[in-house]
């Protein structure tokens, strides 16, 4: 297998979730090649917690639903398995405790970082990411794998696509 073919087989998963008013939580996972070309998309139907769940989970409801229920389902469901998963929601980092796959979360603080100072911070494309505090070894793996991603790639953009697609599916009642 040539180096180019190997590169072309590299796949990223862009996973995000959101709460749609009056509908509940939805999540989507877009698998792309290293250039952002879509290969597969999976999304969930809106998941609306009942009153008991809202009371008992309290403030942990969102993180639990998005990070464990939705994200885990999507990763298990997707047919084209990604080599790594990127997310923009810190709640979804919890997924790392349930899957054997490196997960990076878009860092809210996008200022330039000195690697020695921020143990978990690293760069993919033009954005800074961080890993789960309990899985700091992911950083090295992610940095190695994402050298195939163009340095000037905007890693926020695929999440916009996923959010747009989620709203479209919610609108269509799928």
């Amino acid at each position: 297998m040539s180096a180019t073919e190997k590169k072309d087989q590299f796949r990223l998963g862009f996973l995000t979730a959101m709460e749609v008013p009056e509908q509940g939580f939805v999540g989507g996972l877009l698998i792309t090649n290293r250039h952002g070309r879509p290969l597969e998309f999976q999304c969930t139907a809106p998941l609306k917690p009942n009153r008991t769940q809202e009371i008992l989970y309290g403030s942990t409801l969102g993180p639990y639903v998005m990070g464990e229920v939705i994200a885990r389902t999507l990763v298990e469901k997707v047919g084209v398995k990604p080599h790594l998963i990127l997310t923009e929601r810190v709640e979804i980092l919890e997924l790392r405790n349930h899957v054997a796959m490196p997960i990076g979360c878009l860092d809210a603080d996008q200022t330039e970082k000195v690697p020695s100072e921020t143990e978990s911070g690293f760069k993919i494309g033009r954005q800074w990411f961080r890993v789960h505090s309990g899985h700091t070894a992911d950083r090295g793996e992610l940095e190695t794998q994402t050298t195939q991603v163009p340095k000037d790639a905007d890693m926020r953009e695929p999440f916009e696509r996923v959010r747009e697609a989620l709203l479209e599916t919610v609108k269509s009642g799928k």
Partner: protein, 703 residues
């Protein structure tokens, strides 16, 4: 719970006592309700209370005394002696009432008390009621989330492109897609070379927000799968970068929009004004569709003279795409039509009509059919239009800068090809406008190319040379007399012949060769040649071009018209671009007005006027188009007091009317050609009518 009740308290005490007597001292006292014991204790207490409160009261003999009551007197005596022994209570002769303040009723008086006195012999069932020692939850809840429903979409495999050539650098690019087009070495990669390599320092992050052109789902995309397919595509800018697709130069923003629009359309009419890059947008959209796996087989049909132009543009904009041009003898062409694995076929209209009759039994199928210069099918009943509509296809695109040349109904033919209206239907103007919003994309230079160098139009009103004038007047007089003599048998064809004859005389007088236009042209060409400029000249007649070629021999002009074999045409254009001693290219409207990129020429001469200003605009836009670096000066020769002045006036009036109605941007999107009524109107036509005459002319077309 039960510990707080008096009954419970009592029962616990009793059970403790019982436990103590049995020696089970370590047993946890368990509340136990024994009705018999309870009844016995109750009666004892009642009797004891009666004696204490009233010592004189004797128990009547008739009152039954239970065996258990016999054990009580010790207690009664002990309690009865208490007041007497103390002697503190004086006897006032009145029954005193002693109240034991320490007494606390342990049983509420209730209706069942007497029943309890009846004892266990009345069949009271002994029921042991377990009491909880501590509270327990009454409901149980464990976290449970039902199965999350998911919906998925897998994207099709795309067309595998050849790997791009790595040697290109930005400094090598010409940035100009003109003439013969840039060679492979001229191309610039949108992505800096090696930018994908590991370890390279990242480029400086742009602070300004990037322009992103998103592919929008077409309006006729109904299913969620179709809509998501488009929504999830990356922005074109990053896509083109990411796919390592090489382009001669970066498309303009409006071109990105056009590409994104085409990409999503099943039916499309790209009607951009000439020179805005319809070809490039179409090729790139095809390229992306192939890459996205949306199409595998494309047929592009264009006029025969434009085949080399498309071949050149494909080489410039999508060098990795293999294209096959349908040509050669019938057997060879049949093989080409059915050859598998060819993504793009290129054919001209004549070949299309001829070969699809041959292949009628099993016509080849296409994912995408594109008609360039689609006004060729404006007549719905023509063989070309019928053949085009009969080709099995999934997507239908039409390209033209002049979607309407004469009548709005011509749009109906294009819509029928695009399969957005039923067969043979006749949508009215309002319906056509509505369809336009969904299926037509039209931009004008005024709107999108604000940085394109300006175009200056100048009308050169010239007096005819003496010999020309004499010949013109004679021809006009004779012609009108002859037409008048025809009476009602006159037709537009007869008038048309006269117009052509007069127009030819305004170009030059055939016997003497005198020409006012030629004189002026020579003067202008002196200046242009001296300044190293390039000029294009258009005429309706090849005969005029030949006349000028001879007269302007000192400028070493090049000639390009339908009489030139197709194989010789491309070298002519190349020589015009490259050779410094060939400043003039003379072309016929029919051959040179469409599809050519001559933006290195700064001067355009319209030696005579075409019937339709849209065609004139097409001719002018060979030079005034993307890539033009300098202003373009357009000179229209108009002979004074001749039919040319009248034609120019009518055409200008039509332009103004339609500009006022539809706006400046769409002035070529309407009927601009002279109709029969207007051609007749060029002359004062009369027919004999009895002893006098009457004006004659065909009826104007319905509004």
């Amino acid at each position: 719970m039960s510990d707080s009740s008096p009954v419970g308290e009592k029962l616990v005490d009793q059970s403790v006592a019982a436990a103590g007597s049995s020696g089970a001292t370590e047993a946890i006292p368990r509340p136990h309700f024994d009705p018999q014991q309870f009844a016995k204790q109750f009666v004892t207490e009642q009797l004891s209370a009666a004696k204490v409160t009233n010592p004189r009261r004797a128990v009547p003999a008739s009152e039954p005394v239970s065996p258990q009551a016999e054990t009580v007197p010790d207690v009664e005596e002990e309690k009865a002696e208490t007041p007497a022994s103390t002697g503190t209570t004086p006897d006032y002769g009145v029954d005193s009432v002693e109240v034991d303040l320490t007494f606390k009723p342990q049983i509420h008086i209730a209706g069942f008390n007497s029943a309890l006195q009846r004892g266990a012999s009345n069949g009271v069932q002994v029921v042991t009621v377990p009491l909880f020692s501590k509270g327990q939850p009454t409901t149980k809840w464990t976290p449970y989330w039902g199965k999350v429903q998911t919906f998925g979409l897998t994207f099709p495999e795309g067309f595998e492109f050849l790997a791009p050539k790595p040697e290109k650098t930005a400094s090598e690019g010409s940035g100009e897609g003109s003439g013969n087009g840039p060679s492979a070495a001229d191309l610039i990669a949108l992505l800096p070379p090696g930018a994908l390599d590991a370890g390279q320092a990242p480029p400086v992050e742009p602070e300004v927000p990037e322009k992103r052109t998103k592919v929008k789902p077409p309006k006729d995309a109904v299913t969620i799968e179709d809509r998501l397919f488009y929504l999830l595509q990356p922005p074109l800018e990053t896509w083109l970068k990411g796919q390592e697709l090489i382009m001669p130069f970066e498309p303009f923003p409006y071109q990105y929009e056009g590409i994104a629009w085409l990409f999503a359309q099943q039916a499309a009419l790209l009607a951009d004004e000439m020179g805005l890059g319809k070809t490039m947008q179409t090729i790139t959209a095809m390229r992306l569709l192939l890459r996205a796996g949306q199409v595998n087989r494309i047929l592009l049909v264009c006029p025969k003279p434009l085949i080399p132009n498309w071949q050149r543009e494909f080489k410039a904009w999508a060098e990795e795409l293999p294209i096959v041009t349908i040509e050669g003898d019938a057997t060879h062409r049949k093989l080409q039509w059915t050859m598998p694995g060819v993504p793009i076929l290129l054919a001209n209209y004549e070949v299309l009509v001829r070969d699809f009759e041959m292949l009628a039994d099993d016509p080849p199928k296409f994912d995408l059919l594109i008609l360039d210069e689609a006004q060729r099918i404006k007549n719905r009943g023509s063989r070309t239009a019928v053949t085009a509509r009969g080709i099995p296809r999934k997507r239908s695109w039409a390209l033209t800068g002049t979607p309407i040349e004469n009548r709005p109904e011509e749009m109906a033919s294009l819509y029928e090809f695009m399969e957005v209206i039923p067969e043979s239907s006749c949508p009215d103007l309002r319906q056509l406008q509505k369809l336009s919003k969904s299926y037509i994309l039209r931009r004008t230079k005024d709107l999108v190319m604000k940085d394109l160098p300006p175009r200056f139009d100048r009308d050169e009103i010239l007096e005819l040379a003496p010999a020309q004038k004499m010949a013109y007047e004679m021809a006009e007089k004779d012609g009108i007399i002859r037409l008048n003599e025809m009476g009602d048998s006159i037709s537009v064809q007869h008038v048309f012949e006269l117009v052509l004859r007069l127009k030819q005389i305004t170009n030059y007088e055939p016997v003497t060769g005198e020409s006012a236009k030629l004189e002026r042209l020579e003067a202008d060409m002196e200046e242009i040649a001296a300044s190293g400029g390039k000029a294009i000249l258009f005429s309706q007649w090849t005969k005029t071009i030949s006349f000028l070629e001879e007269k302007l021999a000192r400028f070493n002009p090049l000639v390009y018209h339908g009489g030139i074999p197709p194989k010789k045409r491309e070298p002519i254009l190349a020589e015009f671009k490259e050779a410094t001693d060939r400043p003039l290219l003379m072309m016929s409207y029919a051959t040179g007005a469409v599809g050519l990129n001559l933006q290195f020429a700064g001067y355009v001469f319209l030696f005579d006027r075409w019937w339709n200003p849209a065609v004139e605009d097409q001719a002018i836009n060979r030079a005034h188009r993307i890539g033009q670096k300098t202003q373009v000066i357009v000179t229209k020769f108009i002979s004074k007091d001749t039919i040319e002045e009248r034609i120019d006036r009518v055409l200008n009036e039509k332009r103004q009317i339609f500009a006022a109605v539809l706006g400046e941007g769409d002035n070529t999107n309407v009927s601009l050609s002279l109709n029969a009524s207007e051609i007749f109107g060029l002359f004062d036509m009369k027919a004999r009518h009895g002893k006098g005459t009457r004006s004659i002319a065909p009826l104007p077309p319905p509004a």
